[in-house]
């Protein structure tokens, strides 16, 4: 393999399978990106443990473990601290936007989302990293 280019692993966390497919398809326009998915906060943490994750697209309101708790967990541990997190939540208000950004989310987007905007933001975060 000549000059292996690095593939970026994106973890898409949402309890709605339809929403996960929408996100993954939106990110399909990015090059060298591989998506994995998780349906709950706990599953998301397991994905982190098992494989490399270069960026997370994270829903907030989920069973088992709220997205805010996932952010708290990721940010408070050395090994995962630097993983960019894009929060993608349904119709948020300022309180939770502020809360999520303060906890360490890199970007805060609301659903319904624009697929190109999401891809652009994820693309630029990956480049910056």
């Amino acid at each position: 393999m000549p000059d292996e280019l690095k593939t970026n692993n994106i973890l898409v966390v949402d309890d709605s399978p339809t929403m996960r497919r929408m996100v993954i398809t939106s990110l399909g326009s990015l090059r060298l990106v591989k998506s994995t998915q998780a349906g709950s906060g706990l599953e998301a943490i397991e994905r982190l443990a098992i494989g490399p994750v270069d960026l997370m697209v994270l829903d907030l309101n989920m069973p088992d473990m709220h997205g805010m708790e996932v952010i708290d967990f990721v940010r408070s541990h050395q090994a995962y601290r630097d993983i960019p997190i894009v929060v993608l939540t349904t119709k948020g208000d300022d309180a939770s936007r502020t809360e999520a950004l303060a906890a360490g989310a890199n970007r805060y987007l609301t659903k319904p989302f624009d697929p190109r905007q999401l891809a652009d933001i994820v693309g630029s975060l990956l480049k910056a990293n």
């Binding site: 339809t18 497919r21 929408m22 398809t25 706990l42 069973p63 349904t90 119709k91 939770s96 697929p115």
Partner: protein, 647 residues
């Protein structure tokens, strides 16, 4: 992947519509289930927290995905439902009767909005229902902070002192995940052995991620050995690890299911391929039989055995695929319960719904086709069958009417029964009306089967009585037609003052059926075995002609004959004897006259889609072992042909 045009969001998300409708359906089913639980908690302060959480999450998800596919009405309605749920959860309002009603009306409307879009119909207005929801909320100003759900109180531990609390640690690895051992599977296994109190991620000293579960169980350490094989460690939970601190996770009782959603079309394709395999196998069987004369016995026997076991495996394969298509009928019963409740409230009747056999499985395709007809029977039972409280009490019946919905499997059929203990069907009334409409000639005595036949005649009920309850464009004739189109049949039992029950029998699956292969004038036809009650051999001399109809003596009565050759306008020569297939119910049985019975076969039913090739009396086509196409007879249509040709 550069072909999409992200500017055109509507088009982009259009591709997810099928997923969207499927997921909506799942949420609506789960919402209805939660509402049934919630109904018992009206006006109490002790609302089941996990139920509220699940409802809230379903509305929240519906709001999110509806917004994505651009269904604004559903998005907004789900938003208002979610807001009301939030207030209930925060305890700022108590669930009142009007509140519950607004909630369930909101859910019905939400379903209506989604279905309308699904079927390309105008989306109904949500204004009225939104107002109702706002009226029952405490703050119409809408302090809709999307905060993290506050941690639920720990699951109550109502076990006896014999339970031990274990602290379980699970470290996920790629190798374990490959074996299917992951946080979800561990979690559900722990839930099986006891009461899961907490689940949270931790980071161990070496930096790796692990999960810590606290589980209370009566299982002793030996019983936990199987977990240890998967790398889980157990130790008694320290007392202080029963904290009520903020990070304790609400552990929902809903396990993330390992469910794959599959488009029904893909399963149909799979069934089609299996159908072709069945055909090839039949051909093989014929060829093996031909080889018998020219093959050494030992070799032939082993060839024959292989062919036989392939046949068995094919049947297993077919059954496995069929099982995938099966859904529990309980989902539909729950939907009906919902409708019954609304109708009862509107009409001021009191109704107890009794469900049984909800776990009975039925082909998804059948469910979709039978949904409206079954709903019609339920509506009929509530609107016309069951009496008002006053009427019931006047007759000495208990004030609550009883509606029972049950399902069971019987052999290759599924039997669905919808019964009420209401007023029963008044024969005289039905007869009088049928006579007035020119549908009947006013015979004095009619049995239940004839009664059913009458009320299922198109044009029997008029539009002006098709009220909101039982109308909606579906009449009894449609119910009967749908049942028969699916190869099933409907039965009625009714007694004035005591009640009415409708029984619907449907085949478990449609694609493959047992059939009799018959020949008429050298041409072969397949007749579904489920439609044939009896096969007779008849001497030509014993037939008689009565008013232009051929009849034969049958069980002390006479049986009208229908000559297939005549129906399909083929020449036929009289033989000394011929075969008759008896079809239809006892009261309107009919004999289908054919030349010979060639055998019995498992056939793959294919619909004839080309309207030019469609013909009344033909249900479809199939292929026999020799690759020749054989038409499948539609016995119901044939019977009707015979009846209409009489007049």
């Amino acid at each position: 992947m550069d072909t999409q045009n992200p500017d055109n969001r509507g088009e982009f998300f259009h591709q997810f519509l099928d997923d969207y409708y499927a997921e909506c359906d799942e949420h609506l089913v789960s919402i209805r289930r939660s509402l049934v639980t919630l109904e018992d908690e009206v006006d109490t302060r002790t609302i089941d927290r996990p139920v509220l959480d699940n409802l809230f999450r379903s509305f929240h998800t519906l709001k999110g995905i509806s917004g994505m596919v651009g269904l604004g009405a559903a998005e907004q309605l789900a938003h208002h439902l979610e807001s009301y749920l939030r207030e209930l959860r925060e305890g700022s309002v108590v669930l009142s009767e009007p509140g519950f009603e607004a909630l369930s009306a909101g859910v019905s409307q939400l379903e209506g909005v989604i279905n309308a879009r699904h079927h390309d119909q105008p989306v109904p207005s949500i204004d009225e229902i939104v107002e109702r929801l706002q009226a029952v909320s405490s703050d119409s100003a809408g302090a809709n902070s999307e905060t993290a759900p506050t941690s639920a109180p720990e699951t109550a531990e109502n076990h006896a002192a014999t339970t031990t609390r274990w602290q379980v640690e699970f470290t996920p690895t790629a190798e374990l995940a490959g074996r299917g051992v992951n946080v979800n599977s561990v979690r559900s296994r722990l839930q099986e052995i006891g009461n899961l109190i907490r689940a949270k991620p931790i980071v161990k000293s070496a930096g790796e991620i692990a999960f810590e579960f606290i589980v209370a169980t009566i299982a002793d350490k030996n019983a936990l050995a199987s977990f240890e094989a998967d790398g889980l460690t157990f130790k008694p939970a320290p007392v202080e690890s029963a904290p009520r601190v903020k990070d304790s996770q609400p552990v929902s009782t809903i396990t993330p299911a390992t469910i794959v959603r599959v488009d029904l079309d893909r399963l149909d394709e799979l069934m089609r391929i299996i159908g072709e395999l069945v055909n090839s196998r039949t051909r093989l069987e014929d060829q093996v039989a031909e080889l018998k004369r020219v093959t050494p016995a030992a070799l032939w026997r082993s060839l024959e055995e292989t062919s036989q076991s392939m046949g068995r495996q094919l049947r297993d394969l077919r059954e496995s695929v069929m099982r995938v298509r099966m859904v529990q009928i309980g989902e539909i019963f729950e939907r009906m319960t919902f409708v019954v409740r609304d109708l009862a409230r509107e009409s001021g009747k009191k109704i107890i719904v009794q469900l049984s056999g909800g776990e009975t499985e039925i082909d998804k395709f059948l469910v979709e086709r039978m949904m409206d007809p079954l709903m019609h029977l339920v509506r009929n039972a509530v609107s016309h069958g069951l009496e008002t409280v006053a009427e019931r009490e006047a007759q000495g019946k208990r004030s609550e009417g009883l509606l029972s919905l049950s399902a069971m499997t019987a052999g290759e059929m599924i039997v669905i029964k919808i019964a009420d203990d209401g007023r029963g069907i008044d024969r005289n009334f039905v007869l009088a009306r049928a006579t007035a409409r020119g549908l009947s000639h006013g015979n004095a005595e009619i049995d239940d089967a004839a009664l059913l036949e009458l009320i299922c005649t198109p044009g029997f009920s008029t539009r002006d009585e098709a009220d909101r309850g039982s109308g909606r464009g579906v009449g009894m004739d449609v119910v009967k037609k749908a049942t028969e189109e699916l190869g099933g049949r409907m039965l009625l039992a009714t007694k004035v003052g005591q009640g009415t029950s409708f029984t619907i029998e449907l085949p478990l699956t449609l694609a493959i059926a047992e059939a009799l292969i018959v020949s008429v004038n050298g041409q072969r036809f397949a007749v579904p075995q489920s439609a044939v009650r009896e096969v007779l051999e008849v001497e030509s001399a014993s037939t008689k002609v009565l008013e232009n109809n051929e009849i034969i003596p049958y069980r002390g009565k006479v049986l009208p004959l229908l000559r297939l050759a005549r129906v399909f306008e083929m020449n036929y020569k009289r033989a000394d004897s011929f075969h008759v297939l008896v079809i239809g119910e006892e009261t309107n049985a009919m004999g289908l006259a054919v030349d010979r019975i060639l055998g019995q076969r498992e056939i793959v039913v294919r619909a004839i889609k080309d309207p030019l090739a469609q013909s009344k009396g033909i249900a479809g086509a199939t292929e026999l072992g020799d690759r020749r196409v054989v038409l499948i007879l539609d016995t119901t249509a044939l019977r009707q042909l015979a009846v209409t040709s009489k007049h």
